[in-house]
Amino acid sequence: MIVRGKVIKLGDKIDTDVIIPAKYLKYTDPQYLAQHVFEPIDPEFHKKAKDCIIVAGKAFGMGSSREQAAIAIKAAGVKAVIAESFARIFYRNAINNGLPAIVCPEITKEVNNGDEVVVNIETGEVIINNTKTVKCKGITGIALEILRNGGLIEYLKKAASGEGNR
């Protein structure tokens, strides 16, 4: 799986209350959520997010278990998030909703806002502006299987029909 896009850079410890505030959690509609993604720090974010790749520092997505954080980012058109590290729950939510989340301790040093990057989800190879290559951690195992199915719902549907055949 290969994704590409323009980099939007964010800082360390981006929390889920900033990604999608609690007042929007009474709905799960992706388009509605996308309108409010990152609203507390940039109410216009959703207008710039299409086809971008978010690059962030440590503990991206820390805080609440709200799956709407991953849904909102994906629905705004973000192709992937590359971060130095992810909060555990957000990481799972991203994968479960088909949003690639790539761990890359070196990434914030290597890229700038607006850079074009191409990401190989499986090998973790990130090519920056067609010139430089950074090796990140590829997604493997069960997380990759879920991602390949487009998320946990599709994965579970398949598992359910598999059970039916037995």
Binding site: K13, L25, K26, T28, E67, R92, I153
Partner: protein
């Protein structure tokens, strides 16, 4: 590979039926799965999308309403109606409607046992770690999968050992100890780790304090934070549920990635200043900050010992801020009423209710306005958490919160007593 095992390895070995080591990715059986109103409708939506409202084991499922309780708007009421229908349809037995308690408090009061694997659709599920359970929050999809299959996958975390030594000083509780750990390690140090806490002198650190520290385990970004079961754990379960348990214990000599000792008698009154939980300061450093609102409650500090401290400090005094007090459950509220705490708090001018998250998540029952300063006993001071993104939230323990309410500025009990 060492044959001596940590608590984490033991619990996950049992739950997976395999001998696990840190770093392994394993499928595990989940003993208790839970959700509340705000995540619950989402869990059920996911089940509907998969196409099966099938519950793997109805006795393992716990539902409690807390975030939208009592419903502040029509949509919240609809969400609860939707979940009630599900409860009826699939025959959920462990269901706690409006007026019972915050999910994490309900779990420890009634359901969780040491050594279990507990997953709920809420990040503060780590609270149950106070009883020695491997407890993690997950998102709605993961929780839906567990409701349907009884299983999930985890990466076995790296075990880290914390030892609590000695006795805390007067007014110092679990909150200050959690903040002390966050001051020392910052909010991202424990990522990918499970923190196992050993209390040298168990009665010196009672269950309420442990629940607060375990609750804040997610603020440390730990995969889980567990107190190794001891006499306090056994007494708590015996006295609240009449059960005698024989908990799993870590092996003496098991290997941890590292170890840290907190000398309890050196922990001071601390606060987390805006806008990050690890922006920890001694209360004296911020003692002139004027305060608009105080919140005493939440799954972090809404228990009997918190209310006792608040009552001690507010007895015969009046609050200068708006002060909202929310015991974590009906059970806590009732006990506090029997002991006269609620009466004291109401006399002091506090607004008291029970069993709702309310202001903790900026939901209702006291939202912070722009420029307002809040002192809260809850667990998060992220920008916008309690309402306006222009509000300033200081996280504190019950003693500092109560004194701040009385004086209208951030203060410690010594300033009024």
């Amino acid at each position: 590979m060492s044959i001596l095992k940590t608590l984490t390895e033991k619990i996950l070995s049992r739950a997976s039926g395999k001998d696990v080591a840190p770093g392994d990715v394993v499928e595990i059986n989940v003993d208790i799965v839970a959700f509340h109103d705000l995540t619950g409708y989402h869990v059920i939506e996911v089940m509907d999308k998969v196409g099966r409202r099938v519950v793997h084991n109805i006795d393992k499922l716990v539902i409690a309403f807390d975030h939208l309780t009592p419903p502040p708007d029509v949509r919240s009421a609809e969400i609860q109606q939707f979940i009630r229908k599900f409860v009826k349809e699939v025959g959920v037995r462990n269901f706690h409607d409006v007026g019972y308690g915050i999910l994490h408090q309900v779990l420890v009061e009634k359901y969780v046992l040491p050594g279990q694997v507990v997953v709920a659709a809420d990040s503060h599920t780590t609270t149950s770690g106070a009883l020695g359970a491997f407890a993690q929050g997950m998102g709605a999809s993961d929780v839906a999968a567990i409701v349907m299959t009884g299983k999930t996958w985890v990466t076995v975390p790296q075990p880290f050992k914390i030892v609590l030594e000695g006795k805390p000083r007067q007014w110092v509780t679990g909150k200050e100890v959690a903040l002390e750990i966050l001051k020392e390690f910052k909010a991202d140090y424990f990522m990918g780790m499970s923190v196992e806490v050993f209390v040298k002198d168990p009665p010196a650190f009672p269950m309420d304090y442990r629940l607060t520290v375990a609750n804040m385990g997610i603020e440390m970004n730990a995969d889980t934070l567990m107190f190794v079961p001891d006499s306090v754990t056994l007494d708590y379960i015996k006295s609240s549920r009449g059960l005698e348990v024989k908990p799993i214990q870590p092996d003496t000599g098991a290997k941890y990635v590292d170890e840290y000792t907190v000398e309890l008698d050196r922990v001071e009154l601390l606060v987390a200043a805006p806008h990050s939980v690890d922006n920890v300061k001694n209360v004296r450093e911020v003692s002139n900050v004027e305060v608009d609102m105080v919140f005493i409650g939440s799954c972090t500090n809404g228990r009997l010992s918190d209310l006792e401290i608040a009552a001690k400090i507010m007895k015969g005094r009046k609050v200068k801020t708006r002060c909202i007090v929310i015991p974590a459950s009906w059970n806590m509220f009732r006990k506090a009423m029997e002991l006269g705490y609620i009466q004291i708090l109401v006399e002091a001018g506090c607004i008291v209710t029970y069993g709702t998250c309310g202001p903790c998540i900026g939901g209702h029952f006291g939202i912070a306005g722009p420029g307002e300063v809040v002192v809260s006993t809850s667990n998060r001071n992220f920008i916008g958490r309690m309402g306006s993104p222009q509000a300033y939230i200081y996280l504190a323990g019950p003693a500092v919160a109560s004194t701040s309410a009385v004086l209208g500025r951030i203060a410690e009990p010594g300033d009024v007593m």
